[in-house]
């Protein structure tokens, strides 16, 4: 292939291997954790708007507030809140991991894998803990 002549004598790019694309990449831990950081970030964008909506409902009076509370307390609302709880803790731990990278720390492959596992473990544990507390408080 490297011998093939380009059209009209134009210099042809060297036949180097292309960077692997998502489609032919074996999924691995750091990649999955990175993608999930972005997803949870997008979920929290919506979460911030839900919090703003809560404040607006409170300011609008008792009827609006009780409606909003009922919405959040419905099965679908609870599912969203569980997802947001996970997103908060995941994005928090992942964000601290990113801040460490900004300081030049934790780039070694072994370390990156370890911290990736730690992010997932922390997010799951903290989410379960929060909802156990919510359960004991009679919120479920």
């Amino acid at each position: 292939m490297s011998e093939a002549k380009g059209d009209a004598g134009r210099p042809k790019a060297a036949d180097r291997p292309l960077s692997p694309h998502l489609m032919n990449w074996r999924p691995h831990l750091t990649m999955t954790v990175s993608i999930l950081h972005r997803f949870t970030g997008m979920a929290l964008y919506g979460g911030a708007l839900i919090v703003a909506g809560w404040a607006a409902a409170l300011a609008s009076g008792p009827d609006a507030f009780e409606h909003y509370r009922a919405l959040l307390g419905s099965p679908l609302g609870k599912l969203v809140l569980v997802g947001l709880t996970f997103s908060v803790f995941y994005h928090l731990a992942g964000g601290i991991r990113h801040l460490a990278w900004d300081l030049g720390l934790g780039f070694e492959l072994r370390t990156a894998d370890t911290t990736a596992t730690a992010v997932v473990a922390f997010a799951v544990t903290a989410t379960v803990a929060v909802w156990i507390i919510a359960g004991f408080a009679g919120l479920l």
Partner: protein
């Protein structure tokens, strides 16, 4: 038009605007603030989940709650706007769609922050029933 201009003429005035790292720094600084605000937010949400209208109103009337709440909401939406901007710029390549989405996201964040902070202040400063 461009064909008649020298390479130097074409790039003059289009160089560094000297605030290229603004997005990066803003995202990091708001991230540091949100570490604390978000933990406080989850803690508060657990307490507030049981509160009825009167309880939530009483909670919001304390400056120790209203002020961090306003900070949490503003910092979260600022950080979210910066974050979603990167996502849009990464995946949407059509200039019109991309710019419309960027503007839409900016409007949504400002609107959310304005409504949120106004509502917090209304409850916090309103005193009695409304």
């Amino acid at each position: 038009m461009a064909g008649y201009r020298t390479p130097l003429g074409r790039v003059r005035g289009l160089g560094s605007a000297k605030h290229g790292v603004g997005h990066f720094i803003g995202q990091r600084v708001s991230a540091v603030a949100l570490i604390f605000l978000v933990l406080w937010g989850v803690y508060s949400a657990l307490g507030l989940a049981q509160a009825d209208y009167a309880g939530a109103g009483a909670w919001m009337r304390s400056p120790w709650h209203a002020i961090p709440m306003a900070f949490l909401l503003s910092a979260a939406l600022y950080h979210g706007q910066l974050g979603l901007r990167v996502v849009i710029e990464d995946y949407i390549h059509k200039p019109v769609t991309k710019n419309l989405l960027l503007i839409l996201s900016l409007f949504v964040c400002w609107l959310g922050a304005a409504i949120g902070v106004f509502s917090i202040l209304k409850v916090a400063l309103g005193g009695g029933a409304f």
